[in-house]
């Protein structure tokens, strides 16, 4: 069956190591494969490696590779390709380099066995390389694509040769990309797709129209407010789920004074955790859920959603909606009349991000926190945040490793450029105990000990209101009735799980 689908953005490139972004990795997951892969429920399962175990007496992991696998051009897969792909993916020119930061050496044991040596014990390493895709060394080298393209084109940007269930049939970037099933794929074929055609459609209303007119079979995502409409129509269905992305507000902990205030210009009230807690109490998540998200979100209480490994079941309370309490807290902190400050938000990054911030600003205003809201496209948002140009900001975080350690490393640890820690901790929230615990968590093999340490961090950061976690972002996909597919929590769309009835 021919299957047509659309999404908002095209994969920028067909090179699996050039850009570390969801659209690229999601799309290339259909063509390339890694040593391990994620199943429908996000668990790690064998892919090009049939099994893996920690090395004995040394820090690192051994992967036993699948035999008899061929690339789509017919050449055989072996450990040499893995080593080559590692070198390629960890090169300076590769954007996937950070995955391999802990790796010190990769050793081929034999044609189908390979060892990844790490600096320290690294229990999460296999999880962290689920999207590490393997290229054929000969293909890459003979086509002058031994390294990812950085500021110029190479063969791998427009062509692909993986071991995956689908092969690239044609590509017109930004317009249309066609995939055909890989006849020699090693796995069990669950899909019945004979040709898959992908079209990026940037405008969400247009995309919806394309679905409703029958020109496409599936679209990812659709605007949340349209879900009801689509569901109500004959022949269409909506797939709803939770993404692993938690939306939160962050503070400029480190700033000595507010940047955008008209009344408090010599101090930063947000350095007082009472003020931060007041802000948290001012938010009415129920109303936001009902009006802006039409009941499709789950309130969040930590930086990862429930179900992610490391989620702290011991600390599931979030500050309730209580404007009176908020006002009291503000008064205690010395701001009985509140103050004004700048709130920065994106308007094209997260679902209904702008509406959310407007609603939040209005709720803040109700307790005296007069937010000067500024919204803008994401294209220069990160730059502004990096330049500390905010008093409070909106951020969404999806843990790439599906483990609670990920946000701790990026969002909670103090900024440390050398060790590459806290790189998205824009407000530089800093707590010595948290910094101390992170390396321990990273190395701890025993799950319970590890969880205890994570619980402690969650407790500290909840008490200090390091961030205000708001909710887990919903995933809303829509398709024709006759399509069966799987919605994975990382918002990846996997073609081999599609059946057209």
């Amino acid at each position: 069956e021919t299957f047509r689908w659309a999404s908002t953005t095209d994969a920028q490139t067909m090179d699996p190591h050039a850009v570390n972004s969801t659209p690229v990795l999601s799309f290339l997951n259909n063509i390339y494969e890694g040593l391990v892969r994620r199943g429908r429920d996000m668990t790690i399962e064998p892919s090009l490696a049939v099994s893996w175990e920690p090395l004995f007496g040394e820090n690192g992991w051994r992967f036993n590779l699948r035999e008899g696998v061929t690339f789509q051009d017919g050449s055989a897969f072996n450990a040499q390709d893995v080593l080559f792909s590692y070198q390629r993916a960890s090169d300076e020119a590769a954007d996937t380099r950070s995955w391999f930061a802990p790796v010190t050496e990769v050793r081929i044991v034999d044609d189908y066995t390979i060892d990844f040596i790490t600096e320290a014990p690294n229990p999460l390493f296999p999880d962290s390389i689920a999207n590490f895709m393997i290229l054929d060394q000969d293909w890459a080298e003979s086509n002058d694509a031994s390294l990812p393209a950085r500021d110029a084109e190479n063969f791998a940007t427009m062509n692909a040769n993986g071991t995956g269930a689908f092969a690239l049939a044609s590509r017109d970037p930004g317009v249309e990309t066609r995939l055909t099933p890989n006849a020699t794929w090693w796995g069990d074929v669950e899909h019945n797709v004979t040709e898959a055609i992908f079209t990026p459609i940037g405008n969400s209303s247009t995309g919806l129209a394309a679905l409703l007119s029958g020109e496409i079979d599936f679209i990812q995502p659709i605007p949340l407010q349209d879900a009801e409409q689509v569901e109500g129509r004959d022949g269409f269905k909506v797939l709803e789920g939770e993404e692993t992305r938690v939306i939160m507000f962050g503070f400029g902990h480190e700033h000595d004074a507010l940047l955008y205030s008209s009344d408090v210009t010599d101090a930063n009230p947000f350095q007082d955790s009472k003020v931060r807690l007041a802000a948290a109490h001012a938010i009415d998540m129920d109303a936001i859920d009902r009006v802006i998200f039409r009941g499709k979100i789950e309130a969040a209480n930590q930086l990862v959603p429930e179900g992610i490994s490391g989620y702290s079941n011991a600390h599931t309370n979030r500050p309730e909606y209580n404007p009176e309490r908020a006002k009291e807290l503000l008064a205690e902190a010395g701001y009985p009349d509140g103050f004004s400050f700048g709130l920065k938000c994106t308007n094209d990054r997260y679902i209904n991000d702008e509406a959310l911030c407007r609603a939040a600003a209005s709720m803040f205003a109700a307790v005296g926190l007069n937010a000067e809201l500024s919204t803008g496209p994401v294209r220069d948002y990160w730059t502004q945040l990096r330049e500390d140009d905010f008093d409070m900001f909106l951020l969404g975080w999806s843990p790439g490793t599906f483990d609670a350690e990920h946000p701790i490393r990026f969002l909670l640890n103090s900024q440390d450029d050398e060790k590459k820690l806290g790189s998205w901790n824009f407000g530089n929230y800093s707590n010595a105990r948290v910094d101390e615990l992170l390396p321990l968590i990273q190395e701890e093999i025993d799950p319970t000990t590890r969880q205890t340490m994570i619980d402690e961090i969650v407790e500290i950061t909840q008490n200090e209101v390091a961030y205000i976690p708001l909710y887990t972002q919903p995933l809303i996909w829509a398709s024709k009735d006759n399509i069966d597919l799987t919605q994975r929590a990382d918002n990846f769309f996997i073609l081999r799980w599609v059946t057209v009835n």
Binding site: S205, L208, P223, Q225, D226, E228, Q229, L259, Y260, S261, D284, A287, I288, V291, I292, G342, N347, D348, E354, A355, R358, A359, A361, S362, M363, F364, A365, A366, N370, A371, E372, L373, S374, T375, G376, P377, D389
Partner: protein, 300 residues
Amino acid sequence: MLGRIWRSDGMWLFWRSPAAVLAAIVAIVIIGGALLSPWIVATSPYDLASFSLMDGLLPPLWQGGDPRFPLGTDDQGRDMIAAILFGARLSLTIGLMAMAIASVLGIGLGLAAGYFGGRFDAIVMRIADVQLALPAILTALLIDGISRGLLPPDVQQSFRVAVLTLAIALSLWVNFARTARASVFVERNKDYVQAAIMMGQHPLRVMTYHILPNILGPLLVIMTVDLASAILLEATLSFLGIGLPADSPSLGTLIRIGMQFLLSGEWWILWVPTLFLVALVVSINILGDFLRDVFNPKVR
């Protein structure tokens, strides 16, 4: 002066043209409502504390809405009437300011280019070409970017309107410049201008005191048409994400936000501001047409 206008032929023709009268009434109602919006509506859409998300997405009265909000509310719980009136106010401010800047700049350059001619004229017209080759959206991006580079962060937000206005003005001035220049070419050789030059009057005085009032007719027409264009351009820029932030409810922003609810059942969030905008733009254009006819007695 007013009396003269009142007794003029234009006024007389006006009362005899039902379309113009109707358009004027619509325009006056909209513009009046917009100007007086802070006194007409109870809750300002700028006062964040004054509306509640709990009132969000209420339909208009006749669809069973809340009597407090006759035309319903948007997704933030803002009264649509308040939103469109304040929106029209902002849109009109931007439109009028943009038009004012564009006309001063364009007429000034056009006058001077037509009057002095030669190299100055060539330079101005090539600049106009460059301007025309840059679509408005790019001009907007440019100005937006420059202002961000130059202004301290805390005032940037309040300058968004100014930035947008300037961007729109820059993409409109060429019309004025070209028209003014063409008119000056005609007017320059008329005897009254020659007489003024011959007497030794200052070029500035010749341009502004003598020529300008005589070429104002076609320029006035462009003004009305461009006022409408400016309002629409602002809407489009907002749609492309270079316009105003969502909490500054210009008509354009309202429509952009309303677009999200085109299908979801809350049709009024889109259609109330859109119809309002249509009424405004159409009436301005009709008045512009009428003005053109008045200024061009030949085609009356």
